[in-house]
């Protein structure tokens, strides 16, 4: 220590920072009025927000939840001296229809159960670290369970469809012992196809005759509203996943013909708007099928949307394959794995995991695009809004319906996109 007189020996009390650099004033100055340009932006944005709120809030706070028709709403508003409010009666009367379409009211539990169980089935994939892996069996069974819940009918249908896979696998095991691996694979695939196309129909009829277990069938024409949108989205994404994997592998393949077929397909689908594919579904698909074939419009839309989604899915998975370090391929080769074993055991599990955020955003895209089916006359939320406006009680309603539809879409897609961002962050940390 020093004893020089000019050296201070005791410390000064720390002082409060000047008021301009702490507290809300500082925060405001730093974050809202840092420069004159910032100030202008702030004032403009604040003015825009306030202006919008002044317009919208009184409209939203309208005492018309009990309105029975547009006229009735106008009367309620006039009585309450509330000028220019929304007519919420239409939502309170029709919200169930907007959600479920024409699905029989006593069976609403089925779509609800289907979508809740969908969450359960997806849990082991989406939150792999928090859920027991055993649930994966449920995930595998779910693709057969889901359509049964929605469409109903005999239980033997989905069981027979699932049986095709077991039969194929059984034939493969037996045949590969007898004649060799590759022949076994071909025999297994052939057996499964023959089962699905020819035998299963009789089997289902027979079994349904012996043990008629089933739930009430619901025709797909009764599907509507958000249920229809979600069903199209889920089925299209689910069914396009295997197709997309095949296409992505085909595009990466060294086999020229296979590669070109895949590239052409992908580029064709990605080059035309979805609406033209929906035109195909609504006007042409039946023409492409054998004479006399007739399956309903929702099924046709499902087919076309699945093809549409599979091209995008293929690109997402290709991205996943490309993101995989080359060493993984080489390591798999070095282990002596053949192409399919390498794909199944090494490449795909990793590539698919990387692709999940992309798959989720493809799903969001497809889900949003399902509104296009209103153009070909299906009663999705937007189509239903037109049908509701054709009811003489609600003729002339605009904003309430659009606002409600937009809100529900926003809730669905926003939460999904948040999830996908969470996943991306998680995957990123995993890679470093």
């Amino acid at each position: 220590m020093s004893d020089k007189a000019y050296v201070r020996t005791e410390m000064l009390e720390p002082r409060d920072p000047p008021p301009s650099s702490v507290g809300p004033i500082h925060w405001i100055r730093e974050n809202l009025f840092a420069t004159w340009f910032d100030a202008i932006l702030t004032i403009l944005s604040a003015a825009a927000i306030i202006g919008l709120l002044i317009e919208v809030v009184p409209w939203l706070l309208s005492p018309t939840w009990g309105g029975t028709s547009l006229d009735n709403c106008r009367k309620i508003l006039a009585a309450a001296n509330h000028d220019g409010g929304a007519c919420w009666g239409v939502i309170s009367e029709r919200w169930l229809q907007m959600l479920f379409g024409f699905y029989p009211a006593e069976l609403y539990w089925r779509p609800i159960a289907a979508f809740v169980l969908l969450g359960v089935a997806l849990a082991p994939v989406l939150f792999s670290d928090k859920v027991p892996g055993k649930l994966l069996y449920f995930t595998a069974a779910y693709p057969f369970f889901f359509p049964w819940l929605l469409w109903g009918g005999t239980i033997w249908g989905p069981l027979a469809a699932a049986a095709g896979f077991f039969i194929g696998y059984g034939v493969y095991v037996v045949a590969s012992r007898m004649v060799g691996n590759l022949t076994g694979v071909i025999a297994g695939i052939l057996a499964a196809i023959i089962w699905w196309l020819v035998l299963s129909g009789y089997a289902v009829d027979a079994l349904a005759g012996i043990a008629p277990i089933g739930i009430e069938p619901v025709e797909s024409r009764k599907f509507g509203g958000f249920m229809l949108s979600i069903t199209i989205g889920v089925v299209a994404i689910g069914a396009s996943l295997p197709l997309g994997i095949v296409l992505a592998l085909g595009r990466q393949s060294d086999l020229m013909i296979v590669k070109y077929l895949s590239v052409w397909f992908i580029e064709f689908i990605r080059g035309v708007p979805l609406i033209t594919l929906l035109f195909v579904a609504s006007t042409l698909l039946n023409i492409f099928m054998p004479p006399g074939t007739d399956f309903d419009i929702i099924l046709r839309v499902l087919i076309m949307v699945t093809l549409f989604a599979s091209a995008y899915m293929a690109e997402v998975i290709r991205g996943g394959l490309a993101a995989l370090p080359k060493g993984q391929y080489e390591a798999a080769d070095a282990l002596g794995l053949d192409y399919w074993k390498a794909q199944r055991l090494v490449i795909m599990p990793q590539a698919l995991k990387i692709s999940i955020p992309g798959i989720v955003s493809t799903f969001i895209g497809v889900f949003k695009d399902t509104t296009l089916v209103s153009i070909i006359g299906l009663l999705d939320p937007l189509g239903l809004s037109n049908a509701i406006r054709a009811d003489s009680a609600w003729n002339g309603i605009v904003w309430e319906l659009y606002g409600f539809i937009a809100l529900i879409f926003f809730v669905f897609t926003f939460s999904m996109s948040r999830y996908s961002m969470y996943l991306e962050r998680k995957l990123h940390t995993g890679h470093r």
């Binding site: 469809a161 196309l197 129909g201 009829d205 025709e219 399956f295 054709a390 009811d391 002339g396």
Partner: protein, 338 residues
């Protein structure tokens, strides 16, 4: 056909091909349901209510056919179709009949291979304008902006009308009636043109219907009627005579109220033939004797259906006009039941 949709999807290639066209009547009976194409929504003609039940003038025709064939007016699947999809839906066999205010024209009948079974509403394209414009004739509409519903014959009629009168206009094509109405009310178009019935129906729902006039010019003939596919005359006959039964019933005074009374037998042989107490008309159609009884019983005769859905006491408020019975100066004229 297969039991489940899933199976339908899996087996389309193999099995469904075999289930090719038997007659439509047999298909409908086997299915137990009638597939009927309607609009996606038009006030008074077809619209679903909060329970998903369809109601309307066109819907009632479907219900009558279902009642005649299947004995249950609710054994129907309504397939909403747009102006664009309706013909393919019928041609592809997705619907058994179309009751969707469709104009009977030569090219649709001959070139598109459909069979119009009759006319359930005689309509014509008209114009609606706000009274404040002070227009009294469509010929004064030079330079006006005209809202049209696309996918119909309206845009062709409109082009022809303005061309032949040598006046200019600005077409605003719109997909649905609801949107057209919205644009018209906001003043985004001066004129709304569609079938006169549609205009009246639309005007009826306005806040102030009196502020709008429908101009006297009717620029086209629009006989609207149900249609079926070419090539199945039996089915066409059935739909045609169901419609005729509804019309004749009104002419002969058969209503849903007195039909049970009349069913017991009357002095009028035609009533007896329609209601199946005399002759074998039902058998000739491939149905039982009570077919017309059920069709009329379902929603009443033509007049009752008209009054309930689009008549003067409904919000739509259409007068009978051309659609009155021939005895009352209208065009409705059912061929005799004998």
């Amino acid at each position: 056909m297969k039991k489940t949709v899933l199976f339908g999807a899996l087996t389309i290639a193999g099995l469904a091909a075999g289930a090719a066209a038997a007659g439509t009547l047999d298909d409908v009976k086997a299915r137990g349901k009638l597939n009927c194409g309607v609009t996606t929504g038009l006030v008074g003609f077809a619209a679903p209510d909060a329970n998903g039940e369809w109601h309307g003038f066109d819907v009632a025709v479907c219900r009558a056919v279902a009642a005649a064939v299947l004995g249950d007016q609710n054994a129907i699947e309504f397939v909403p179709t747009t102006g664009k999809t309706r013909f393919t839906a019928l041609a592809s066999g997705e619907v058994d009949m179309l009751a969707r205010n469709t104009t009977w024209t030569f090219s649709r009948d001959v070139d598109l291979k459909f069979e119009f079974v009759g006319v359930n509403y005689y309509d014509g394209q008209g114009f609606m304008v706000p009274k404040s414009l002070g227009v009294s004739s469509a010929k004064e509409l030079d330079g006006a902006t005209v809202c049209i519903q696309t996918g119909t014959t309206t845009e062709l009629n409109l082009a022809d009308f303005f061309r032949s009168n040598n006046i200019s206009y600005e077409p605003v094509p719109i997909e649905t009636n609801a949107e057209a109405q919205q644009q018209y009310l906001a003043g985004a178009c001066d004129v709304y043109t569609t079938d006169a019935s549609g205009l009246a129906a639309t005007r009826a729902t306005f806040e102030n219907p009196g502020d709008h006039v429908i101009l006297p010019e009717i620029i086209s003939k629009e006989p609207l009627g149900p249609l079926v596919r070419h090539g199945d005359p039996e089915w066409g006959d059935l739909v045609r005579w169901t419609l005729n039964a509804l019309i004749s019933a009104e002419e002969l005074g058969i209503t849903s109220a007195n039909i049970d009374e009349l069913k017991k037998g009357t002095n009028n042989p035609e009533i007896n033939r329609i209601l199946g107490t005399e002759g074998k008309l039902g058998e000739m159609l491939g149905l039982d004797a009570d077919w017309a009884y059920r069709a009329i019983k379902a929603n009443g005769n033509y007049g009752e259906i008209f009054a309930k859905n689009i008549g003067e006491n409904t919000p739509v408020g259409l007068a009978r006009g051309l659609n009155a019975q021939w005895k009352e100066g209208g065009l409705l004229y059912s061929p005799p039941f004998r």
